[in-house]
Amino acid sequence: MNAAAADRPILLIEDSDADAALLTRAFTRVAQNAVVHRVRSGEDALAYVMGLKEYGNRSKFPEPGLVLLDLHLGDLGGLQILNVIRHRKGVARVPIVVLSGSAHEDAVSAAYDAGASSFVVKQFEPEQMEKLARAIVSYWLEFNQVPERVITK
């Protein structure tokens, strides 16, 4: 068990309330200690990872150990957020798993080019979603090694 990552929350960037509810339920069911912070917009996602506005309170909003990013966001597109995070000193290294409704070849390539750690297709059946969440938690929070602190001050 990689305590460094497992102790940190999952940041879920998802604009659909229904998808966010499904995802949050799945992740908290498979990892009972997992804390999922959900933000709705690209703007809030960037504020969270950079610790701006209310997210500067790191005891309430700790640095994420994993980012789950919906590719199709309303304001800033998912790819744009990926690009910004990957070029921002101090937060660039956090693992980012892109979630998408489909696996169109161009979208997959573009996501890797923008710096996605991984690309997975969302499942809409709760049981399938839980299975997916279990694999993501097991890989990224239990086995994968992350830098000790995402943000260097």
Partner: protein
């Protein structure tokens, strides 16, 4: 048929990992290379790796850090600087080092993931099973490698 490119200079480690992949029913063949220069030659399709039927591009690269001739991190840097689709291949760094500086450097250079080399054979089987389940079943790998 694609392959998993395993770049590992320690023959015993490589053998154990290949055996674990077999036990974990990893369906893709593993191509083992033992130094960084060979890994770059393979990916670039330089001789003797020019024939892509015999030496297909990998769906996944597993890189040890400490390699002779060219280190794993130098190979990673080379992969990410390519202008063709090779730059997108998922790279998992597998290292015995748990030093934050080594982990950070790997991510800075574009590693998708960093795993510590397991210490027991049970842990090795867990890692192999996880690899199969995550990188070969759940993850969407880029298809435009060429």
């Amino acid at each position: 048929m694609s392959t998993i490119l395993l770049v590992e200079d320690d023959a015993a480690d490589a053998r154990l990992l290949q055996r674990a992949f077999g036990k974990a029913q990893v369906a893709l063949p593993v191509t083992l290379l033992n130094n960084g220069d060979e890994a770059v030659a393979y990916l670039a399709g330089s001789e003797p790796y020019g024939d892509r039927v015999q030496h297909p591009l990998p769906s996944l690269v597993i890189l040890d850090v400490k390699l002779p001739r060219r280190s794993g991190l130098e190979v990673l840097e080379w992969i990410r600087s390519q202008s063709n689709g090779i730059r997108r291949v998922p790279v998992v760094v597998l290292s015995s080092s748990r030093q934050p500086s080594d982990i950070n450097r790997a991510y800075d250079l574009g590693a998708n993931s960093y795993l510590s080399k397991p210490e027991s054979s049970e842990d090795l089987l867990d890692i192999a099973t996880l690899f199969r389940r995550y990188w070969l079943e759940i993850n969407q790998n880029p298809r435009e490698i060429l």
